[in-house]
C-alpha cells in the first residue's frame, strides 16, 4: 500500500477540524444540548429574569415575595472565597443540649392533604433504595448507607448519579430510572435526595425558555416530579423525600427554598410519601449557614465542601443522624433476632 502525502500544518488542522465536525454530527443531541445551555447562560447573563417566589411560611421566608434573584456575594480577593466569613458562626446547631441531633421536625407537612393511610404505624424495612444526585454519590448517601449496613437484615441499593435532576431529562430521566431500579431491586423503602442541580431555567428544544420559578416553569417541573413519584405510588412503596439543606450562597438558598416547597407539595399528594425538612439540620447556633460545626468532643468539623453546596463526610454523618432519628417514627430496621428502631 502506498503512503499518502505527509501532513502539513494546514492539512493537520483540516484533519482535526473535519474529525471534530464529524464527532459533533454523530453526537448531535449532546452538542445541541450543550450549545443550548451555553447560549442560555450567555443570554441569562444579559437579562436576569424576574420571577415570583412563593415560599412556604414554615421555611422561614416571607410568603409570596416577588423580586429579582439577589446577586451572589461579591468576591473581594479572587483567590479566596469569603462566603464562609459572611455566613459562618461557630458553636453548635440549634438544639443546644444535643449538637449532633438538631431538633427533628414533624415529618408530615402542616397543611397536608395526605390520606389517613400515611399515618399508619411504622413499617419494617428490609430493602432500602437510596436515589439522588452527587449528594447521594458523596457525603450524605455513603454516610446513610454505612449506618443502614449496620443492620444485617437490611439490604441497601444506592444510586447517586452526578449532575442529574429533573431539568435535563434528555441526559437522564429519573422517573424511568426509578422505575427500572424498583423493578430490579423491589425495595420496601425509598429515600430520595435530589434537586441541587435544578435551580436553572428549562430550555425546551422548541418554544420559549422557561425562567426558573415562574408559573410555566413550576408547571413543567411539577409534572416531572409527579411523574417521578408516580413510580412510587404505583407500587405503594414508602418514600422519604429528604429536602435540601441550607446552602452557602443567599441567592442559591432562595432558589432551593422554591424547590423544597415544590417537593413538599408533590409529596403531600402521594400516599406513603413523606417530605423531610432538613433546612436547619446543618445550620449553626444562629440558624445560619455554616461550613464548620463543633463535634461532641469540641473538635472542629468541616461539614460542607468548599463549594458551599455539597456535604463532607462529617456533614453527611449529621444529616444521616437527623434522618434516622426523624424516620424512626415511621420505619423500623430489623436486626436478626430482635427488633430495634433505627437510632
Amino acid at each position: 500500500m502506498s503512503t499518502h502525502k505527509e501532513l502539513t500544518p494546514l492539512r493537520a488542522i483540516l484533519l482535526y477540524t473535519v474529525a471534530m465536525a464529524l464527532v459533533m454530527v454523530c453526537e448531535f443531541q449532546r452538542v445541541s444540548s450543550w450549545a443550548r445551555d451555553a447560549w442560555s447562560n450567555i443570554t441569562a447573563m444579559e437579562s436576569p429574569p424576574v420571577f415570583a417566589l412563593h415560599i412556604s411560611a414554615t421555611e422561614g421566608a416571607q410568603p409570596g415575595v416577588t423580586g429579582k434573584i439577589p446577586p451572589p456575594p461579591s468576591v473581594s480577593w479572587p483567590l479566596l472565597d469569603p462566603v464562609a466569613l459572611v455566613t459562618n458562626g461557630y458553636g453548635f446547631g440549634p438544639a443546644k443540649n444535643d449538637p449532633w441531633f438538631p431538633a427533628a421536625p414533624s415529618l408530615l407537612s402542616l397543611k397536608t392533604n395526605k390520606p389517613a393511610s400515611s399515618n399508619a404505624g411504622p413499617i419494617v424495612a428490609h430493602k432500602v433504595l437510596i436515589v439522588g444526585d452527587s449528594e447521594i454519590a458523596e457525603g450524605f448517601g455513603p454516610a446513610l448507607q454505612r449506618e443502614l449496613d449496620k443492620y444485617p437484615s437490611v439490604k441497601v441499593l444506592r444510586k447517586g448519579i452526578y449532575s442529574t435532576g429533573f431539568i435535563h431529562q434528555e441526559n437522564l430521566n429519573w422517573a424511568r430510572t426509578l422505575r427500572a431500579l424498583i423493578n430490579q431491586f423491589h425495595p420496601d423503602l425509598i429515600i430520595v435526595h435530589l434537586g441541587a442541580n435544578d435551580p436553572i431555567d428549562i430550555v425546551p428544544k422548541t418554544g420559549r425558555r422557561m425562567y426558573f420559578g415562574n408559573d410555566q416553569w413550576k408547571e413543567v417541573y411539577g409534572s416531572r416530579l409527579a411523574d417521578f413519584l408516580k413510580a412510587v405510588s404505583e407500587k405503594k412503596i414508602m418514600t422519604f423525600w429528604v429536602g435540601l439543606p441550607i446552602m452557602g450562597s443567599p441567592a442559591y438558598c432562595e432558589k432551593i427554598k422554591v424547590l423544597n416547597s415544590m417537593f413538599r407539595q408533590e409529596c403531600d399528594k402521594v400516599p406513603g410519601c413523606f417530605y423531610m425538612d432538613t433546612w436547619s439540620a446543618l445550620t449553626n447556633s444562629k440558624g445560619k449557614y455554616a461550613s464548620y460545626l463543633r463535634g461532641p468532643g469540641g473538635e472542629l468539623v468541616r461539614i460542607r465542601a468548599k463549594d458551599h453546596v455539597h456535604l463532607t463526610g462529617g456533614g453527611g454523618k449529621i444529616l444521616t443522624t437527623f434522618f434516622l432519628k426523624t424516620a424512626s417514627r415511621h420505619v423500623i430496621f430489623q436486626t436478626v433476632g430482635k427488633v430495634s428502631s433505627s437510632n
Binding site: 500544518p9 484533519l15 439490604k155
Partner: protein, 485 residues
Amino acid sequence: MFLISFEFSLFLLVVLWLNWTLRGKGVYYRFFLLAANFFFYATQKTGLILLPLGVGISNYVFALLISRSTRQGTRKALLWIDMVLNLGLLAFYKYFDFLYHCLDSVLVPLHIQLPPPFFDIFFPIGISFFTFQGISYCIDVYRDRDQVIKNPVDILLFVSFFPTILAGPIMRARTFIPQIDHPEFDSRSFQEGFALILSGLFKKLVISSYLSEHIVRDVFQAPAGYSSPTVLLAVFAYSIQIYCDFSGYSDIAIGIAQLMGYRLPPNFGMPYAVSNVQEFWRHWHISLSTWLRDYLYIPLGGSKKGKVRKYLNLLITMGLGGLWHGPDSRFLLWGLLHGAFLALKHMWRDLRQSLSADKTVKKAPWRLSTPGLARFCNFGQCLLVFTLVSFLWVFFRAENSARAFEIFRAIFACKFGGAGFEFPVLPAMAAGLAIQFAGPKLSQFYTRLQERLPLHLQAAAAALICTVIIRLGPSGIPPFIYFQF
C-alpha cells in the same frame, strides 16, 4: 474548562490554527501561547492566573539572581528563599485547613476554641505541579548557571503550558524551553499525538469511569455491605481505575502537546507488569518520581552516605512524596509503606551483592536455570507486586485511614453474603490491564494506518473511534483523580 468537553475541543481548534500560523514568529508566537495558557487556566476562576504568573516571575527573578551571584553563600540563600516562597504558596493553598485543624485540636484541651477559618481557600488545580516545575528550574540554575533563561516569557510559558498545567507531566525547563523556537512540523508526531489523545479518552471515559461508577466508589464508601470477594475485587479495580485515569490524562496532555509540536516526557510505562516495587516507580508517574529522585533523594545524600542512610532517605523521600498528595495520615502512610518496600528491595539487592562478592558462597540456589520456570516465577512476582501495590492504593483512595482499615477488615472477614458486583466489571478490568501492553502497539498501528489513508478517510477513522469511545462512556464524566492534588 474541562479537558474532555466540547468547549475544549473548540478552544484547541483555535489554538492549533494560531499555533501553526504563528510558530517561529518569535514574540508574536510567545504572546499568543501565553494568552492561550492563561485563558485556559482562567476558566477555572479568573483571579487564579495570578498564581502561575507569580510562580513564573518569582522563579525567573531568583534564577537570574542565582546565576549572577558569585558568592556561594548568597546563591544558597537565594535558592532557599525561592523554595520557601514556592513551598509556602503550596502550603497555604494545600495545607492551610489541615494546619488550622491541628492548631485547633491543640487548643481544645486547653479550653480555647478558635473561630472557624474566616475564609475558604479555593484549591487551584495544578498548583502542586507548576510550583514543582518552578522549583526544579531554580535548582537546575543553582547547579549549573548556564541553564538560566534570559527571557521571562519563556519561563511563564514553561510554568503555565496549558496541556500540562492541571496535572502534569512535571516538565523540566531545559527540555521544554528549547522547543518553543522549533517551527518544524512533524507529520508522524502529529498522528502519534492524535493516537495518544484517543488512547487517553478510551482509558478515562470507558475504563476508569466504568470502574469508578460500577464498583469502586460504592465499595470504598461503604465496604461493610459487600461480600469479601467484591471488596477485594474493588481494591484491584481501583488499581486499574487510577492507572487508566491518570495515564489517560497524561496521554491526552502529551498528545495535545504533540499536536502543537512539543515533545513531553512520558509519564507512564507498564506499572502493573513489573516484578518489584523499584521497577513500579520507574513506570508510575515518572515525572514525579524522577523529580523526587533529582531534587529530594539525591540532595538528601541518596545512596552515597552508607546503607542505613540510603534506606532512611528512601523512607523520607517517599513519605514526603505521599504528603505531596495532601495533608492526610493516609497519604503519609501510603508513601512510607512504599518507602519501606523500596528500602526492603534495596536491602535484598545489597545482601545478594555481598553474597555474590563472597567467593566462599556458592551460586544462589534460588537462581532459576530453566527459562520456562523463570518466566513463571517472574509472572508470580508481577502478580505479587500488583497485589501489594493494589493494597497500598487502599490508603490512597479511602476517605480516611479508619475507612482504609475498614476495607481491609471487610476483605479478611471472608464474608460471602452481602452485595456482589456486576459481571461487566471483569472484562473492564481485563481491558484496563491489557491496555498497558496493547496501548503503545495499537497507537503505532493507528499511526501507520492513518499515514496510508487519504485525508478524508483519516478524519473519518479518527471521528469514528472518538464517537465509539464517547458512546461507551457515561453521560456525566467524573473529574480526573489527580486534579485534586
